[in-house]
Amino acid sequence: MTKDKALEDLFLAQKPQFDDSDAFMASLNRRLDAVEYLKQYQEATIRRYKMAMVATFVIGIISGAVGITFLLAAPADVPLFTFRLHSVFLQWLSENSRILVAIALSLLMSFGLISIIANIQDIMRMRKKRDSFSFVTENVL
């Protein structure tokens, strides 16, 4: 496909010249600074969450193991709970009462630890927000 000469000349004659390139680049640099800040903040947040998850996992595992060991090491002559009704399922429950209680305890401990760490993080975030807000308002006012 060939170019229309008259149209091409018109386009080239009206090719714009920009005399504000420095201002444009300065504005772009400011935007890129903001992007960098957000990227760093995002990376730091992800890193913090990963650390928190690992800590929660490790503490949960250790606590669960300790709980299970304690329960299994205790005398097992008497079950922790019994049922008056007779059924295969309830009998199985009472026979394995110690291990089931140990698992339930471990789960509870894990959930508890997760919620504690999440709450601490929320509090720290709120403190950070409050500090930055007070810093901004102090500077504005």
């Binding site: 496909m1 170019k3 229309d4 008259a6 149209l7 091409e8 018109l10 386009f11 080239l12 009206q14 090719k15 714009p16 010249q17 920009f18 390139s21 444009f24 680049m25 504005s27 772009l28 640099n29 935007r31 890129l32 992007v35 960098e36």
Partner: protein, 158 residues
């Protein structure tokens, strides 16, 4: 690509990019510069995945073209009100550029035709390159160029 490398490339290409977007925005310099900044930020964010080092300008134009189309799609209502106002009053001057015949004629073209025409006549890209930038087939580009050229010539009385 590091930030310094990105800035070096952009310093070299920014005038061409702004000229392209200025034509797409029919002479509205503020809109064109806002779109250019948006496109460059998007390019910077995805610059880690940039591989084809020989075609930085085409890559940038592709992002700018998509940014322009998204912008057009997001403010279609405002755009049609604006166009209606222009037709009624014939006085929607925002800058001296807007009064120029070429920009007024470009305004009558649909965005895709406008992109193809601008890339072909202003930036000197081939049909194959335009097809790659706009993610369209070469036949479609040929049709857009043909239709756009006829409309512009009729409007500009060339």
């Amino acid at each position: 690509m590091t930030r310094e490398e990105f800035i070096t490339y952009v310093e070299r290409e920014q005038e061409a990019l702004r000229g392209f977007l200025l034509a797409l925005c029919c002479g509205k310099k503020d809109d064109a510069d806002d779109l250019a900044q948006d496109a460059l930020v998007k390019a910077y964010i995805s610059s880690a995945g940039y591989q084809d080092k020989g075609k930085f300008r085409s890559w940038l134009f592709k992002i700018a073209h998509n940014t322009f189309l998204n912008h057009k799609a997001s403010c279609r209502t405002m755009e049609s009100i604006d166009e209606a106002r222009t037709l009624l009053s014939n006085a929607s001057a925002e800058s001296s550029f807007e009064h120029q015949d070429l920009y007024l004629a470009l305004r009558t073209l649909p965005p895709k035709e406008r992109s193809s025409i601008t890339l072909f006549y202003l930036n000197g890209y081939s049909i194959k390159e335009i097809a790659a930038i706009t993610d369209t087939s070469e036949d479609a580009i040929k049709k857009q160029l043909s239709r756009g050229r006829d409309k512009l010539k009729e409007r500009l009385k060339l």
